[in-house]
């Protein structure tokens, strides 16, 4: 081991370090172990107290090295026997010398610190174990993964992640908005906005009305209109309007933060992004999914791997060929044109149906109007994707590229539908606001008529007591918006569940039982069992979440509704997938699409908060309902709070900070910073590629094979 002849004190440290390197390089034999142990024991007579400070330093270093080794032990590719031996050795060494190091120099403190850090690590480990055990639905998802592979399981993992986000949003809206108003605000029936009007009182408890979220459901904490604009409620002096506003802003901010954080994490994990340089190697070494535990899925996987090999080989050969590129281009342009026609057609259809329903809104009941619009939207959502699928046969893309085009088109379809819906909603809001002006005028007339019969207006007579139910009410457009969104979500959910039951379950039952008496083999031939449509389901989930974000400000009950919906969906879809679906024939890895779905979610988040922000900033709130009634704009509540609740200097600082002269340069600075970071990252990537190429050529040309291996060990 090459130890020098030196003082015994050095020998201890040196021997220990030599022992360390010996253990790391060779696998220990039992006999050798005992010898080494004995030798170290002999040296023990050298007491650590007699070591000078530099020797103590060296000893401390050795102890630290051992500790690091213990930490890193998991990541070493050695058999457990060797790891356990090294672990015991290192632990003994550390115990023996650690305490000694502390002698005479605040030893008790040192020992205490060591004890605390051990307890902290143990606590961290236990907490990690506990957290892993707490993850909901883990067994279910694992079972699905073993039957269907990781791409189907990725949908359920995404669903679970969405459930987590919605749970947090639910806690925010429930705890900070709904509960304070319910407990500390004025109870039902005391003021006009909280009471069902006399005209509707007889039908307020009907199931049909409640299902449509009218009646008692409308005049409750579920919707915006119920909330009182009193500045502080209860003995806690809870600032209700401020809380409402901040929770609305906070839900959006939290969602942004979570989505961007997940995207960043995914981007990190997916590596440098060398997509095609190791195509064949990756297909060879990483295509088998070790989680597959089901023979049927395994057979499917074998078939798909074979297909992917053959495809890759063919592509490689064809990429040298270059013919018919003009025909392909023409066909692709034609396909895109057809798709644009479809999208325009569907947009016009929705607009037409909504306008028609508004025209006949006096004749048809509310429910029929809803059914028209929602039915059209759902049918479009079902049939247009199939049409896009057929059109994409013209394009002749690689399946993964074709899938992304398909997803993009369906995304555009849903987006178009959603925005048409919003435009229709805006028309309704404007109508309601005009109505409001008329009603305001009527109320002044009505109030004057109340005093007519008794005394003149100028005398100090006691005020006339009026039942809150009799007061004429404004048409509260915010509650209307909230109700529309809730109805849309409910009808969308119903459509999804019914499609699932009919499209998957009924189909599976028919194929299974009619097969005995049918001319051709139903299971292998035409209908057969359905496959689980991952991308369609993920898109549906993303769009539903967009609707929640859009409507949550006006209907605080939406996150609660969504939590319930996701919970039911999880169980229903897990059951449906195991019972009615078969594994996909082409199995695509989920990870490549992961960031694609996150990017779509981010776009939807942005697009769905735009309408809400627009209405908050431009439209004045209703005069007699909601927490902002009486204000000029909803965000005035912030101004008010700053003026009355904070000290004067705070208001001054805030007004300086929001001065355009300060904000604009700040934004400019941020844009410049983004540009700078973008360009440095690009240059790093280029430098990386250059270095790689250089290293390849250098190694290839100049060094013999044996040395090359050690070069790689150093550089990679």
């Amino acid at each position: 081991r090459g130890m020098r002849r030196c003082s015994p004190k050095y020998k201890v440290v040196g021997k220990v370090q030599g022992h360390l390197t010996h253990l790391l390089c060779h696998s220990p034999e039992p006999s050798e172990e005992d010898d080494i142990d004995e030798e170290v024991d002999e040296e023990e007579e050298v007491r650590p107290e007699s070591l000078s400070s530099e020797e103590l330093e060296k000893l401390k270093e050795a102890v630290d090295e051992r500790k690091k080794l213990i930490q890193a032990l998991r990541g070493k590719p050695w058999p457990i026997k060797k790891k356990c031996v090294i672990l015991r050795e290192s632990q003994e060494f550390v115990e023996k010398y650690e305490g000694a190091l502390g002698k005479g120099k605040g030893r008790k403190l040192y020992a205490y610190k060591v004890l605390m850090s051990k307890k902290w690590m143990k606590f961290q480990r236990d907490f990690e174990n506990f957290k892993t055990a707490c993850i909901p639905w883990e067994m279910k998802i694992k079972e699905i993964e073993s039957h269907f592979g990781s791409s189907v399981a990725s949908y359920f993992i995404f669903l679970r992640w969405m459930y987590g986000i919605n749970m947090i949003l639910f806690c925010l809206t429930f705890g900070l908005v709904m509960v304070p108003e319910a407990l500390m605000g004025r109870p039902y029936g005391t003021i006009p906005r909280k009471t069902v009007p006399r005209a509707e009182a007889t039908s307020a408890m009907d199931f049909a009305v409640l299902w449509d979220f009218g009646g008692y459901a409308q005049y409750s904490v579920l919707f915006y209109g119920y909330y009182n604009n009193q500045r502080a409620v209860g003995w806690l002096k809870f600032r209700m309007p401020l809380s409402y506003f901040l929770v609305g802003v906070g839900t959006v901010a939290y969602s942004y933060m979570v989505v961007i954080r997940t995207m960043a994490r995914n981007a990190n994990e997916s590596g440098v992004g060398d997509d095609n340089s190791f195509n064949f190697n990756w297909r060879m070494f990483t295509s088998w999914d070790y989680l597959i535990g089901n023979p049927e899925t395994a057979d499917n996987k074998f078939a798909s791997i074979t297909t992917s090999f053959k495809e890759a080989i063919l592509e490689e050969q064809e990429s040298q060929k270059d013919d018919n590129i003009h025909l392909t281009r023409f066909l692709r342009v034609l396909a895109n044109f057809l798709v644009l026609c479809c999208l325009a057609g569907s947009g016009y259809l929705i607009y037409f149906v909504v306008r028609r329903s508004q025209k006949f809104s006096q004749r048809d009941s509310n429910i029929e109007k809803e059914i028209h619009v929602n039915m059209v939207m759902s049918l479009l959502g079902m049939f247009c994707p199939m049409l896009f699928d057929v059109i994409s046969a013209l394009e002749n893309y690689h399946p993964r590229v074709a899938l992304q085009w398909q997803l993009g088109r369906i995304f555009a379809l849903f987006l178009g539908n959603l925005y048409t819906f919003i435009i229709a909603l805006m028309d309704e809001i404007n109508l309601k606001r005009e109505e409001e002006n008329i009603i305001k005028f009527n109320i002044t007339v009505w109030e004057a008529s109340l005093f007519n019969g008794t005394v003149s207006v100028n005398s100090t007579a006691p005020p006339v007591t009026i039942e809150p139910a009799d007061v004429p009410r404004g048409p509260c457009w915010e509650t209307m918006v909230g109700q529309e969104f809730v109805r849309l979500i409910i009808s969308d959910t119903m459509t999804t569940y019914i499609t699932l039951l009919i499209g998957d379950f009924l189909r599976a039952v028919l194929v299974r039982f009619l097969n005995y008496c049918w001319c051709w083999d139903l299971e292998a031939g035409f209908p057969s069992y359905s496959e689980f449509d991952v991308s369609g389901n993920v898109l549906g989930l993303i769009f539903n979440q967009g609707m929640i974000w859009m409507g949550a400000f006006y209907a605080p009950c939406l996150p609660a509704l969504n939590v319930l919906r996701l919970h039911v969906s999880m169980y229903l879809q897990c059951w449906a997938v195991m019972c009615c679906n078969v594994p996909q024939e082409r199995v695509f890895k989920a990870s490549g699409s992961n960031n694609f779905y996150m990017a779509m979610l981010l776009v939807i988040l942005f697009l769905s908060t735009l309408p809400a922000i627009y209405t908050i900033v431009t439209i004045p709130p209703s005069f007699d309902c909601g927490p902002f009634s009486g204000k000029q704009r909803m965000f005035d509540v912030i101004q008010e709070t700053l003026e009355s609740d904070f000290p004067a200097w705070f208001g001054k600082v805030f007004s300086y900070a929001s001065n355009p002269g300060l904000v604009l340069p700040f934004m400019l600075l941020m844009v410049l910073a983004i540009y700078y970071l973008q360009s440095t990252s690009k240059s790093y990537k280029e430098a990386n590629m250059e270095l790689k190429k250089k290293l390849q050529t250098v190694v290839q040309n100049m060094f013999p094979p044996l040395v090359q291996q050690s070069c790689f060990n150093v550089y990679f």
């Binding site: 060398d274 990756w282 295509s287 395994a298 094979p705 090359q708 291996q709 990679f716």
Partner: protein, 186 residues
């Protein structure tokens, strides 16, 4: 449960837990289920390969035999595993195992002739494992030759006709799918 729990003492449990990525106690339970009625000593008993291969997680895996051979520490190289070998297996395939560990063991699994490099024979056997047993899914000889030459072209940097451990790790570390697919969870 009483007899099985008592064999894994607290010290031993925490010692194992520091050295592996998986959960030791659940591994212990699964392993003890594999033992026969007369095999009581869970910690030292050696379980033959065909019993290990009855585990549902390994049953459908085309590399199941190679996995057993790689993790086995038996002198006769018959693929039998003790409890510690089983722990090694689960640790390497665990969710939290690092890329280095997984790529190290993946290389050893794919190295069918155990010579430390992946040459054409290893790659051919690998492809045959992946494409299944039936004739309709096997690749033709021409396709096989084309495939292997493409693979070597991509990853064999020193052009010696084989893929060694460093080249393998270089390729694998850039794959986005490897860590998530190279996973076995009990």
């Amino acid at each position: 449960m009483g007899t099985t729990a008592s064999q894994l003492g607290k010290d031993l449990l925490s010692e194992y837990q520091v050295t592996v990525f998986c959960f030791v106690f659940s591994a212990y339970k699964r392993f003890s289920e594999l033992l026969g009625k007369d095999e009581k000593d869970v910690l030292h008993e050696r379980v033959p390969m065909d019993r290990i291969l009855t585990l549902p997680e390994l049953k459908s895996n085309p590399f199941r035999k190679r996995i057993c051979y790689v993790f086995s520490t038996s002198d006769s190289k018959n693929g039998s595993l003790t409890f510690e070998d089983f722990l090694d297996l689960l640790s390497a395939f665990s969710d939290s195992a690092t890329m280095e560990i997984k790529s190290h063991y993946a290389f050893r699994i794919f190295d069918f002739d155990d010579d430390g490099t992946l040459d054409c024979g290893d790659l051919e056997k690998l492809v045959n494992c992946l494409t299944g047993e039936t004739d309709e899914t096997k690749l033709t000889a021409e396709e096989m030759r084309q495939l292997i030459s493409n693979i070597l072209e991509e990853s064999d940097i020193d052009k010696d006709g084989t893929v060694n451990l460093s080249e393998f790790q270089h390729v694998i570390s850039r794959s986005p799918d490897f860590v998530s697919s190279f996973k076995i969870v009990l």
